[in-house]
Symmetry: C2
Subunit: 354 residues, 2 copies
DNA sequence: TTTAAGAACACAAACGTTTGCGCGCGCTTA
DNA sequence: TAAGCGCGCGCAAACGTTTGTGTTCTTAAA
């Protein structure tokens, strides 16, 4: 309204290109290109002139053209199952940080736990000529041929958190077994002797390892695992609630629950409170992921932190290594992060009642 | 290990291009290109042959080249302050959905509430030749020249949720005033008469409107607003807690709090419970955003839902409209979504004690 | 003084598409 | 029978970079 400009029919002024700079300075485009990328065969004086003019004309490099010519962009593709909750946003956060430090931009896709969409996402990313692909698998991904194309094109591929079981791949994971071990051992240290486990889909490495950690901790205390105390589900809040009701119906009562996810342990907590069973006095609880809400339930929930940001950063580092040596023969690399147990009221003996 | 392939030094097989298809079929690249894009000047028979061969050779179009030639890609750039919590992931969800339906891919950037990063993100997106830019402003963005470049390049620009105040822009927003009005009126209907308001930074449209809604509701009940009852902050949980302590120190007690964000109302709840003040009997609470944790606190928190997914979808629709008529003179468009109040225990009179 | 070497820059061919224009064919219409 | 028209397709020039291979000087070594 107060704007001085006329109606301006979006008169898109053709962006200034290297050709413009070259014409203006009376040199060739080669010189411009090399000056901007700080090539050694360009004189210091010329470089200065080019840089200065570029600033003045507000030259913006066309990354598309560069990517086309070089067959590779400065884009990093990421495929995650979803972005709700705390985990994936945080690891994306770590990825963005490390990537931007290395001069890469990040493009994020969600598979929504669907292998079909995952497939399409990978295609999309490849067509966008990404320099690398970072993937955390969808829940129902049991077949991995859609990743072959990535490698065939020579694009670095890194899996994180949820990784393929048998394939030779580069990956960064949490030591899920250790995290589960610590959480379960902690419950045992608090005096629990009948600790149940809410397990996730066992074809996923993370849930398999968490279950193993649980079993290992029991073994360390010479407790023989009771199959009735291990309930496998999709780990939603409702699943956790249902499983807990099932556990409470057992003839011999339980005194602790370790869930492979925080949503499930939340469901457990809700059922226990509804039935006026005191937490942690009668049943102690521990979860996995250190979700934001673990600190605001009553009692607050003990949980295993997954080092989300470190995971993202590590994935990018791994990608950069792979990108640095494009034609190197494949050697499997895996970085394993150490989890950290956050002990809160839901498992601490003598914790104040709410 | 069991893989039959040799060590395979990442022998990237040169991707099959339109030139390959043309050679194979003995036609020109023009024909290939037109056949693939279903151009009318290509015979049906030829189209079939091309399509078939493309499938057979697993031809993957190089979007970069196409984008370069056409000066526009099928990428949609999104800039948000952050992706934690529920709101932005959900709206991104809506964006992805609508975008993929229209054949666009989405690239997400976080500004981390920093105008500097926001500026850089916009640059990055433009250099990636995105077809459009969708933005929700960073908290400290008070100056908007970095968006001029977007329009200058003729790239459609849509703001959502947090939009510039004075500028002539296209935007999709929630009716924040209405949402705040409903929440506050609800508290008054429950019998509250001294309702406080935890307000956010007033240079942001959303917080200004929420405050106005609060004031309007008071006016509807002929209550003159008390400046002591309006506390402005950054709306973190700590801010909410601090503000609540401040309110409790007032000589005349309050009986309700409406916060412009859920984190703040959570802080309020924690302080009230710590001081054994009963919610909602002594002080009723209502927040804004309908975050996930509002359903798991005790008591559960009343909150205003922001129609996140609809917002994302609407933003994409707006973008598509703008993209359809590139040279149309600018006319300001704004779509306003209607909020929905979720009434829960924290405000319901006669709600069961936890 | 001759020669080799290096510094500083230019030529031109790529990268894989899209698209305005042109050309020949067979058909209809006058 | 000649003019006109639409169909189906090819030619070649873009789009904005990067880069291997020159080319021209200047300078140091032989």
């Amino acid at each position: 309204m107060s704007s001085p400009k006329k109606t301006m029919p979006s008169a898109a002024p053709p962006a200034v290109s290297m050709a413009d700079l070259a014409r203006e300075l009376g040199v060739s485009m080669t010189t411009i290109s090399r000056a901007l990328s700080n090539h050694h065969s360009i004189g210091a004086a010329t470089k200065q002139r080019v840089l200065k003019l570029a600033k003045k004309l507000n030259y913006q490099p066309n990354h598309l053209a560069a990517a086309l010519r070089k067959g590779q962009s400065r884009l990093l593709g990421v495929v995650v199952p979803y972005i709700e909750g705390k985990f994936f946003p945080s690891v994306i956060q770590g990825i963005e940080q490390a990537a931007s430090k290395a001069g890469f931009s990040v493009i994020v896709c969600q598979s929504h736990e669907d292998v079909q969409l995952e497939r399409r996402n990978v295609e999309t990313l490849l067509n966008a000529q990404v320099a690398g692909v970072l993937v955390s698998l969808a829940r129902n991904t049991q077949e991995f041929h859609h990743f072959d194309k990535v490698r065939q094109r020579g694009v670095p591929l890194v899996f994180f958190d949820r990784i393929p079981p048998t394939e030779q791949v580069n990956s960064v994971v949490l030591n899920d077994r250790e995290g589960a071990f610590q959480a379960t051992r902690h419950l045992l240290e608090q005096g629990c002797r009948r600790v149940a486990h809410l397990a996730g889909p066992q074809h996923l490495n993370i849930y398999r390892h968490r279950r193993q950690g649980y079993l290992d901790a029991l073994a360390a205390y010479s407790i023989v695992p009771d199959e009735d105390l291990i309930i496998t589900s999709d780990m939603t809040t409702e699943d956790g609630a249902g499983a807990t009701r099932q556990l409470l119906a057992l003839p011999e009562p339980i005194d602790g629950i370790f869930a492979a996810g925080d949503s499930a342990i939340l469901g457990a907590l809700q059922v226990l409170k509804a039935q006026s069973i005191r937490v942690p006095q009668e049943v102690a609880l521990a979860g996995f992921s250190n979700e934001g809400f673990t600190a605001i339930t009553e009692p607050q929930l003990t949980s295993v932190d997954q080092r989300c940001e470190e995971m993202g950063q590590a994935a990018v580092r791994l990608f950069l290594e792979l990108a640095a040596a494009p034609d190197a023969p494949f050697v499997q690399r895996q970085v394993v992060l150490q989890p950290e147990l956050f002990v809160r009221e839901s498992s601490r003996q003598g914790a104040p009642l709410s």
